[in-house]
Symmetry: C2
Amino acid sequence: MGKNLERLRQRLAQIYDINAAANLLEWDQQTYMPPGGADERAYQLATLRRLAHELLVSDETGEALEAARQEVADPDSDSDEARLVWRTGHEYEKSRKVPGEWVSEFNRTTSLAHATWQEARAEADFGRFAPALRNVVELRRQYVSFFAPYDHPYDPLLDDFELGMKTAQVQAVFDALRPRQVALVKAIAEHGSAVQDDFLHQPFDEGKQWQFGLEIAQRLGYDLQRGRQDRSAHPFTTSFGLGDVRITTRLDPNDLTVGLFATLHEAGHAMYEQGISPSLARSPLADGASLGVHESQSRLWENLVGRSRPFWQAFYPRLQEYFPEQLGEVDLERFYRAINKVQPSFIRVEADEATYNLHIMLRFELEQALVAGDLAVADLPLAWNEKMQDYLGLTPPDDAKGVLQDVHWSAGLLGYFPTYALGNLVAAQLWARMAGDIPDLEAQIAAGELSPLLGWMREHVHRHGAKFAPAELVRRVTGNDLTPEPYLDYLQSKFGAIYGL
Amino acid sequence: MGKNLERLRQRLAQIYDINAAANLLEWDQQTYMPPGGADERAYQLATLRRLAHELLVSDETGEALEAARQEVADPDSDSDEARLVWRTGHEYEKSRKVPGEWVSEFNRTTSLAHATWQEARAEADFGRFAPALRNVVELRRQYVSFFAPYDHPYDPLLDDFELGMKTAQVQAVFDALRPRQVALVKAIAEHGSAVQDDFLHQPFDEGKQWQFGLEIAQRLGYDLQRGRQDRSAHPFTTSFGLGDVRITTRLDPNDLTVGLFATLHEAGHAMYEQGISPSLARSPLADGASLGVHESQSRLWENLVGRSRPFWQAFYPRLQEYFPEQLGEVDLERFYRAINKVQPSFIRVEADEATYNLHIMLRFELEQALVAGDLAVADLPLAWNEKMQDYLGLTPPDDAKGVLQDVHWSAGLLGYFPTYALGNLVAAQLWARMAGDIPDLEAQIAAGELSPLLGWMREHVHRHGAKFAPAELVRRVTGNDLTPEPYLDYLQSKFGAIYGL
């Protein structure tokens, strides 16, 4: 590696270290931090994120970047060096437009807002969260203004999570999805009685739930030598390096599926980062290609694997061993149908596959309105409930089951939600391609053999880390641009069979 | 506050934030981090500690400090401002002598050494730890060289933990202590059969041990809204701000006292920091006056309170409720005598009060020899075992119970151990003074009323944080210089009664 590339890497490694420490501050805030730590934690996050920002946007980084660029033999190649310079260039240019003062203020505000959100959610009291959320939205509107002109004020936010993606593209994808997804849900509703899941809703010992979830996560390939699981109000995955990628989950003592599928989902995220090539460690490439690609991995393991018949052919007997009293008399087919029951519901992370994207579209629309200034924070609960009625025919009994359910806004993550729906699409597209490469994929899964699947993902997706923009990665791996067809085909085929449509 | 003082405070607050994040990285490393995180964690600690160091020793800090000094009306006053400038001046001058490269290397080395120590200790294999320890000792010898000339090569290390204290002073104190402490242990040995403690060594449910320890810690005054307890290989206290002061403990399923007294000890540390005046938050004064004063608090709650008869008059019935099977038939007097049994033993943190300081003297001598270059790391286990035989008449069965038992050297904390013995002395000196101020102190403790005691400590010690050098604080509070008399009197009186000397 050239001298200037090495200089750039050293600098980026320091920035990585600082951000890793900030990630730990955030992980701790959501898992173990006592309430009294909230104020000082907010300062700490502000200081660290600002320091990382200032190191990135400094003239020294700009010079190191420019000098390194000269050393890259072929800037269009797939080499680690060429891609590092490309990705760093993008982040450098974007970050230069953002004042350090804003970074500091934003991180302090969102850290405090997180604590407030936790309390407000626990008490189902949106009014308690509203002032904090107003500050967050105002800061996000300010953020957007740094990037004017733009096609759409939502674009700069979306691009942070989905490099290169435009709001109009997401809108087009959603417009194509919505009618077919709504039609599917409607058709299913007419055959609703075909699936019973009462037995999932009864007491399940939390210790056993925890143990089974971790056992399965490890069977998928989640490496606990380089990870661990803890509890938090909202499940998430975070990493402090390629050797330490952690997940969290939450448990419902009366619903087996809440914790189990959260664990599978987060393990999907975590395996992605555990699979990144060690050559990319401590660099901006030691990350997923985008949040959408990240969600493709979590949603794939949660749903395409974790809610599939072959998977439970392999693991249902084990689950029955854990819960003989609850599941001993329930056969595989009933279980499989139950975990795939389609029913409009309040909570996004617990939504079935057929209705899930409707939760996302709702948030996408509300976020755009907030960012454009067309919707005041005070009016958000009403707007939420109206859209829930429109899309899912439900009105939440309280704000904890409605507008307060997700952690994202308290963390300032506006522009993030669409990536979940994109992830669903990418997952189905990857699956279709993988099924071509591994003809006996289903048989392998049914035999409890998950390593060929993980191996394929490692080879085609994981190891590249953030070397490619998401659109480019999808094209490289599948040979096609992002398209909703494989996803819709998957839903149609799966739920058509279950519900006899 | 003047403009320049404010500028200085802002700068110091940022440095505080970075160090708080580094403390969390270390806490996590000892509690939850999976093994795979060790390498990257070492880089993170190196980067953060170095950043904090560089911010501190920068010319900007020097200028802000000088300008702030001009704004302090009376530099000799006890005002927060005057003391902040004094303490920062000391840290600035000392840190300026240390290259950033050393800070980085030292933190990376000790972070890796910690992981190695954990493995080596688990396997009682000193050879596995030796190369890492050699690096640590070498770095510490380098560190000492930055401060030449000095009276004694151990002085710069000691001063990091005990501001202003010289090796010769510690030596003089230890020389005064040793003969009387050895004589006491010998006299007790001749009456050894007077105390039986078999009933402490039987199975005690770990969950109940944990619960009882936390209950008692809270009764002492440890605030769990601003703290928490976790498990670690070696108990410790750390803080990420005045609102988040955490302790750890370890449990022995067959020995009630290991976890219980570790919790009382660490809660003593933690209550000190929880009691620091909020006006000192996010500054170098948001800390204990020294490690010795810190240990005075931990040892006071652990021993002068936690191994006293009045304390167990209040809490022994509750302990019996937790463990009726083990303790139901054991009366208070037998319990009190058992937890005060004097018996030379291998493990410092579990040592009784009469032999404890002998463990410290051993380490003090070995550390001096390591730093002076008179003892090679390879020869350390032999030297350890010889001194154990000399001082305590014991030879450890393996290195886990010998030279590998403490976490300190892996963390580079050479110069730290003497502060434990100093803490014992300070604790007794403070106690004597407090007993004068609160005549019915023992009766209050026996009634379970611990808040007057904590209140006295808050008023006279805690709230000042690091505003005063340890020697100055001891003089302020007790009216005297540090002296071993109250401590020796305390031991003599307590153990004289128990053993009928």
